[in-house]
């Protein structure tokens, strides 16, 4: 093993941790958040919702199964959730320099280096997580000795504009035409729709899609504060008048809520894990979901023709909303998983059934 460089993680409250570098060697700053999933680092690192964030893995052993190839299927990367790594930096406890998996082609460290993303190991990630739990998500920076930098708050910026696509792209050849508003979409949402006989028209976050020919609207996940996406909210409001089916995920849930007239707020430290239980409103049906969000919908502010669809069993926060009469619904969690449990993938079926019903009534 060659000499590993020492590097520090410094939090805005002054706490600092020393670790060793296994990624790209440059200083970076962002918001420090933790996630408690035990698998799926290739998926998480490429999840655009993590834009601007320094990610702390509570699971200590990372890198074990390397990183798969970037092969393409139906125009999308087969194993990644977008075309690049979106996190700002990665913090782990025990990094595996050696990896072992049939579909791995390189190590996590090499992949980080390729994408110029720093990675630290040898950090007491549990101690770090407890700080974030108590104080809320904090700003932080990964600093190499010879490169001092300032803190940076990604939430001041419209991260959606960074994560979104800048052109309209079409995927799949299915019978149903779905407009997907890309606020930083995970590829698996597109895959889940294509697998259900959809042609997916991916449009930029602020694109006025009213001129497109489509049967349903999909509002994607994405990073940052939904309050900074007024353009998208306006477009949603317009389309709601047409009563075409809408489904939203994560940021999409927050944007749909805002379009309906409800408020959103920032959670103390967010939900970033594979084990979040949500209860389907008015039933005893409970699902384990994959989540990655720092903001939430304030249920109390929902207008009377809307109602909560799912609620988090742990902290009672909103996990989804629906219109009482129209085919509009959204979830705060990720039914498309990748990474995480796939228990709620049936919601895509619900959405596509709404689309089919809508098309029938239109005829």
């Amino acid at each position: 093993m060659t000499q590993l460089r020492k590097v520090r993680l410094i939090l805005e409250d002054g706490t600092s941790f020393e670790g060793k570098s296994f990624g790209y060697e440059r200083s970076v700053a962002g918001e420090v958040v933790f996630y408690t999933a035990m698998t799926g680092y290739p998926e998480s690192l490429t999840d655009p919702s993590y834009t601007g964030q320094i990610l702390v893995s509570t699971f200590p052993l990372i890198g074990n199964y390397g990183v798969p190839s970037d092969s393409k299927e139906q125009g999308l990367s087969a194993f990644y959730e977008s075309d690049k790594i979106h996190i700002t930096g990665l913090i782990v406890s025990d990094y595996s320099f050696e990896y072992s998996h049939w579909n791995a082609i390189k190590s996590l460290g090499d992949w980080l280096k390729e994408h110029k993303i720093p990675g630290l190991f040898g950090i007491d990630t549990r101690a770090l997580t407890k700080i974030i739990r108590v104080k809320g998500s904090l700003l932080g920076k990964i600093e190499f000795e010879d490169e001092v930098i300032d803190f940076y708050d990604p939430n001041q910026e419209n991260l959606v504009a960074i994560a979104s696509t800048d052109k309209v792209e079409v995927y799949g050849t299915g019978e149903h035409r779905i407009v997907l508003v890309d606020c930083g979409v995970k590829y698996n949402i597109i895959r889940c729709l294509m697998n259900r006989n959809a042609t997916v028209i991916v449009v930029p976050w602020d694109y006025d899609f009213s001129g497109e020919d489509f049967d349903g609207i999909f509002l994607s996940n994405g990073p940052g504060d939904p309050a900074l996406c007024d353009a998208t909210v306006e477009n949603i409001r317009k389309t709601m008048l047409a009563e075409k089916p809408i489904m939203g995920i994560c940021l999409g849930n927050q944007l749909l809520a805002r379009a309906a007239g409800a408020e959103t707020y920032k959670l103390k430290f967010g939900h970033r894990s594979h084990n979040q239980p949500v209860l389907l409103q008015g039933t005893d049906r409970c699902f384990i979901t994959s989540q990655n969000h720092g903001f939430a919908v304030d249920t109390k502010t929902l207008p009377s023709d809307w109602e909560p669809l799912f609620t988090n069993v742990n902290d009672q926060t909103n996990e989804g909303i629906r219109h009482k009469t129209k085919p509009f619904f959204s979830t705060q969690f990720h039914p498309e998983a990748a990474s995480g449990p796939v228990d709620t993938e049936f919601l895509f079926d619900d959405f596509m059934n709404n689309v089919i019903e809508y098309k029938k009534t239109k005829k």
């Binding site: 200590p60 025990d94 101690a127 739990r133 084990n275 005893d284 069993v313 796939v342």
Partner: protein, 1077 residues
């Protein structure tokens, strides 16, 4: 929300501990009972395993120490009229019994509702064919297997299944005729052979070498499902999961693989319709996402106990609540208190399970690991790196190893290649040795198919070993390397051995030097909590472990002199199992009641002592000197109790004492006086207490001289044990020579202890408690067998029924003298021999013994509670004098697991071989004997009994019982000598020829194979090798064909008298309190 009609529930236990069904069911049963109790449900437990926690007063409302068989359970149902029954918490024993009760219509007849998983779902998972069909319905893959009746069918089957395949001959034992084929020629040759053994063979696809992965899945009646944990076997498919090293969570699975298998597990549990918990085992192709489902267990299992401890999620407790009708989201997370049971634990550590084998205890047994389970216990280690967890784990197993590396030179493995390809219990050390011989990870992978990731991690440990070895003093050891080593789980011992090159003599002092050095460098472990949510929510958890991969403690240490540490028993093994957990838990409970904070250290995932709600703080960590000192340094307890967990904590007495650790109870100096053979012997001499003559000898000549003096037989104990040459009794010069040849290494470093062996002597035990040298309470019990059968294998009667009052009085006096001389405070146990009122002390342990729970429960006077109070100097309840005059009798009987141990000779000797025990209560001695023997799997013979009565003495011993059998109309069969002897004494029997007289009929072997015999009594005789081998064949065949076997004449007599005196219907169905209150 829940079914309010359920007011009274029967819970079935798993009976005695055996291989494949061990302490984990004490944990699951106890949790279930607590869950029911919380709902104010009246609980009735049927379990003859008297040493368990679940059969304690506060756990169940009523306890029946009766066999878990349909007959007895029905009797209890008739008597108790329960509303419901739980079948999933007592292992396969309870499940089988439940299915039988269901099939016989008994549950329906008495209107007893099965709570949780319906019986039909259980049946669907138990029958291989139905199971494969069921999974086929939902397009879930199981290994393809086709039954064939001839060669043509076999070749046709292979066309469907595809090479490689496994051929299995149906209806044969021990894998006879089974094997692996990669092509037509191999199939031709193997299948033709297999057809000579069996009319039917199975052609199965081979998935040997695939990864083995398990999921623990939970479902409630609302169809909500979670997987609590997944686990990955270090050893690939081909080695039983109970024989594998296992890690949790899985380490080499990608997200897609993890969630594919998880989703399948949920699909399966829904389709089968389980309410509660089940376990799904998969084989996963290491080169793709292809998989097969190997097994589904529709009940709590060893894996679910492990998953519970690995995650902190109380699976058994939750499963019991779900059985009552709760939904997952309606139950609290017992660890965080603020979240619910509807979540999947997120771990921020890795656990590693390693099995514990005791194969050296058996003669003839195959040591190869394969598809059947042989291990007797397991450990779980926790770390924040695999290296840390595996090295901790290897130490925890307790076989004298110090980790993956730096073990004693004697463990050098000659045939690395053989060991890697055909693993035995020493495979992990063969891997270490392979690295020493410069094997690459790929080379080891090719031979073992252990995923390269695990091997790479092991190689990291190996690389650090080389680095440490290159350093020659602590001063020249870089801090970074020392810290790295500690992060990889190196102990101070290993570092001392590698850096300081310490000899065995110096090592204990040197490891203290390492300890001081690293403390001066502030290289210290951190205490972390297991909180089920990886720190996401604040948790009120007391579940802790130590790691060097961290730099802050999760908890604070009051250091207020109000805490007491209890050291647990470690891995279950032959000689130390659930009884020591019972002692530990009772000590903990008493400490808590006396207003001290109780702190438990233990690492056995099968125990109740490691449950989240048993103690105030649980350190799930090593019981090594180093780790106990780490915890003592942090906690600064009022004292440490090391007399409850058996020999492991007891052995730490002097080491801890030298570091001024406050030991509660008897002074370690006196513990040493009892433990050290020479010191104890001279103490007995001073007290004028008799003992068998013995000597510690360092040369062969001395041994012969000593034997000439005391005469045969003698008991020989070598201190350096080669395989097959453990402690043994030898009766003549030939045997002695043979034995000494095996144990060739007799020297000053490796002395041999030779003791006079007294035949025809009664063996007696006393379990007692003393305070400041004064006897406080005691219980005397006697063995049914004469001395020579290890006390752990003996059938024990309490109170004694056949001892002279004079003997009892003298034993009491001896106990008083020894308690005084050793100033005992706390529990102790002595074993004595009595022959013609001549009493000799053979052993004394200043700690709780295996029989403490048995005598405590039979008297209903808790000796451990008293012992703990005594050690805390708290007031205690003086026993009532009349306590020892009981109106009933308790009998403790051993459980053997020979059926699991291919080729092992099922014979009893001076070394222990039983894996568990039961204790039953009866109105009379014979009633208690009969109940306890039925509880360990004996059945009352219907008609035919084979007697092969061995030496003259046992022929005489058995004469009366043979007469009794003849009078009762049993058909007696006997081997030559026995038949002749019986005939001379006017008892008719049919002669069966010896197994090696293959051409003579009727032959013993054919009678056994045809199951014409209901009971085999074979008393070993040790004269000629021919008789030894014939005797072995009879005994082994009896085991292999599941025919009850007794090898001790006195026990055989007792059993025969018992079943001739009592019909099964005569046995009283009385609960524990009905005897004692």
């Amino acid at each position: 929300m829940i079914n309010k009609d359920i007011k009274k529930v029967i819970v079935l236990g798993s009976g005695a501990l055996k291989i494949g069904e061990a302490g984990e069911f004490d944990y699951s049963g106890s949790q279930a009972l607590k869950a029911l109790k919380e709902e104010n449900i009246h609980t009735i437990l049927i379990n003859p395993n008297i040493a368990t926690i679940q059969t304690s007063e506060d756990i169940a409302d009523r306890i029946y120490f009766l066999p878990v068989t349909p007959f007895f359970v029905e009797q209890v149902i008739i008597k108790e009229k329960p509303d419901g029954i739980l079948l999933a918490f007592g292992g396969q024993t309870a499940l089988n019994c439940g299915v039988a009760l269901f099939r016989k219509g008994i549950l329906e007849k008495y209107n007893v509702k099965v709570l949780g998983t319906p019986v039909q779902s259980i049946i669907d998972t138990e029958d291989r064919e139905i199971f494969a069909g069921k999974l086929g319905e939902i397009e879930v893959k199981t290994p393809r297997s086709i039954a064939c009746l001839n060669m043509e069918e076999a070749f046709a089957a292979v066309k469907i299944v595809g090479y490689p395949i496994i051929i299995r001959a149906a209806y044969t034992l021990g894998g006879l005729g089974s094997g692996f084929c990669a092509n037509d020629q191999e199939l031709e040759s193997l299948a033709s052979k297999a057809f000579t053994y069996s009319p039917q063979i199975l052609v199965e696809e081979s998935i040997k070498g695939w990864k083995e992965v398990e999921y623990e899945v939970v479902r409630d009646r609302f169809n909500n499902c979670i997987t609590v944990c997944n686990m990955e076997n270090f050893d690939p498919l081909g080695i039983h999961t109970g024989e594998s090293i296992v890690v949790a969570p899985s380490q080499t699975l990608s997200n897609s693989e993890y969630h594919k298998l998880r989703a399948l597990a949920i699909k399966i549990i829904r389709h089968i319709g389980i309410v509660g918990e089940c376990n799904v085992q998969y084989a996963l192709d290491p080169h793709s996402e292809d998989y097969r489902v190997i097994e589904v267990n529709a009940r709590l299992s060893r894996s679910s106990a492990l998953a519970s401890k690995a995650t902190g999620y109380p699976l058994a407790f939750v499963a019991a609540k779900l059985g009552l009708g709760y939904g997952l989201h309606q139950l609290n997370n017992q660890v965080t208190k603020v979240t619910t049971a509807a979540f999947e634990p997120a771990l921020d550590y890795i656990v590693c399970k390693i099995p514990r084998w005791d194969l050296n205890k058996f003669t003839g047994v195959s040591k190869n690991l394969g598809s059947s389970m042989k291990s007797v216990g397991e450990i779980m280690s926790i770390g924040r790196s695999f290296e840390e967890a595996i090295q901790k784990g290897i130490r925890m197993v307790g076989i004298g190893m110090h980790g993956f590396v730096a073990n004693k030179e004697e463990i050098t493995i000659e045939q690395i290649d053989e060991e890697l390809s055909n693993p035995t219990d020493r495979r992990i050390f063969a891997i270490a040795e392979a690295f020493n011989k410069n094997y690459t990870v790929d080379e080891i992978y090719e031979k073992t198919k252990i995923d390269r990731w695990f091997l790479q991690k092991l190689q990291n440990i190996h690389i650090s070993k080389n680095k440490l070895e290159a350093v020659n003093s602590l001063q020249s050891l870089p801090d970074s390397l020392l810290l790295q080593a500690k992060k990889e789980g190196y102990s101070d011992f290993q570092i001392a051995r590698l850096v300081l090159k310490s000899s065995n003599k110096e090592i204990n002092d040197d490891l203290l030097k390492v300890r001081e050095w690293r403390k001066s460098k502030n290289i210290l472990p951190s205490v972390k909590q297991i909180d089920t949510l990886a720190g996401e929510y604040p948790a009120q958890t007391n579940y802790l472990y130590l790691t060097y991969n961290g730099n802050e403690h999760d908890i604070e240490f009051p250091r207020d002199d109000k805490s007491v540490i209890v050291l647990g028993s470690g891995a279950y093994r032959i000689g130390s199992s659930v009884e020591f957990d019972w002692c530990s838990v009772n000590a903990i409970t008493t400490i808590h009641k006396e207003n001290y904070r109780s702190i438990m250290i233990n690492y056995n995932p099968e125990t109740v002592s490691t449950d989240y709600d048993t103690c105030d703080r649980l350190y799930f960590d090593e019981l090594t000197f180093e780790r106990v000192m780490d915890i003592v340094d942090l906690e600064a307890p009022k004292g440490v109790v090391l007399s409850m967990g058996g020999q492991i904590p007891n052995n730490l007495a002097m080491k801890l004492h030298r570091q001024q650790v406050p030991i509660l109870g008897t002074s370690p100096l006196n513990i040493d006086r009892a433990e050290d053979r020479k010191k104890f012997s001279s103490l007995l001499d001073t007290l004028k207490i008799d003992q068998p003559r013995w000597s510690e000898l360092t040369s062969i000549d001395d041994i012969y001289r000593f034997v000439d003096e005391v005469g045969f037989p003698v008991l020989i104990r070598p201190s350096y044990v080669l395989s097959g040459a453990a402690m043994n009794v030898v009766s003549n010069r030939d045997q002695l020579e043979h034995f000494l040849n095996l144990a060739a290494n007799v020297s000053k470093e490796h002395p041999v202890v030779v003791s006079e062996f007294i035949e025809q002597a009664k063996e007696i035990e006393i379990d007692a408690v003393a305070k400041n040298g004064e006897l406080v309470a005691y219980a005397i019990s006697e063995h049914v067998e004469f001395a020579g059968v290890h006390s752990g294998d003996a059938t024990i009667v309490f109170p004694p029924q056949k001892l002279y009052i004079e003997t009892i009085r003298r034993i009491k006096k001896i106990a008083r003298q020894i308690a005084k001389a050793l100033e005992i405070t706390g529990p102790f146990n002595m074993q004595l021999l009595a022959k013609d009122n001549d009493i000799k002390v053979i052993e004394c342990n200043l700690r709780a013994s295996r029989s403490f729970p048995f005598v405590s429960k039979v008297m209903k006077y808790n000796l451990i509670e008293i012992a703990t109070q005594v050690m805390l100097d708290a007031p205690y309840r003086q026993p009532d004098k009349s306590l020892f005059e009981l109106d009933y009798v308790g009998v403790k009987a051993p459980q053997f697991s020979f059926a699991r141990l291919l080729n092992a000779d099922p014979v009893l000797g001076v070394d222990m071989s039983s894996t568990g025990e039961v204790g039953c209560i009866g109105e009379t001695y014979y009633e208690a004997i009969l109940k306890s023997m039925l509880s360990v799997g004996y059945t009352i013979p219907k008609k035919n009994i084979l007697i092969s009565s061995g030496p003259a003495r046992s022929k005489i011993e058995l004469l009366q019982s043979a007469q009794l059998l003849a009078d009762r109309g049993f058909n007696l069969y006997a081997t030559g000598g026995t038949q002749k002897f019986l005939a001379e004494n006017g008892i008719e029997s049919t002669r069966l020829f010896w197994p090696d007289e293959t051409d003579k009929h009727p032959n013993t072997l054919e009678y056994i194979k045809d199951k014409k015999i209901d009971l085999v009594i074979n008393i070993p005789k040790d004269h000629t090798s021919r008789e030894i081998s014939n005797g072995y064949t009879i005994r082994r065949s009896a085991i292999d064909y599941s025919i009850p076997l007794i090898t001790n004449a006195r026990l055989a007599s007792a059993f025969i008298y018992a079943f001739c005196k009592y019909e099964i219907e005569d046995l009283s169905i009385k609960s524990w309190d009905e005897y004692t209150d």
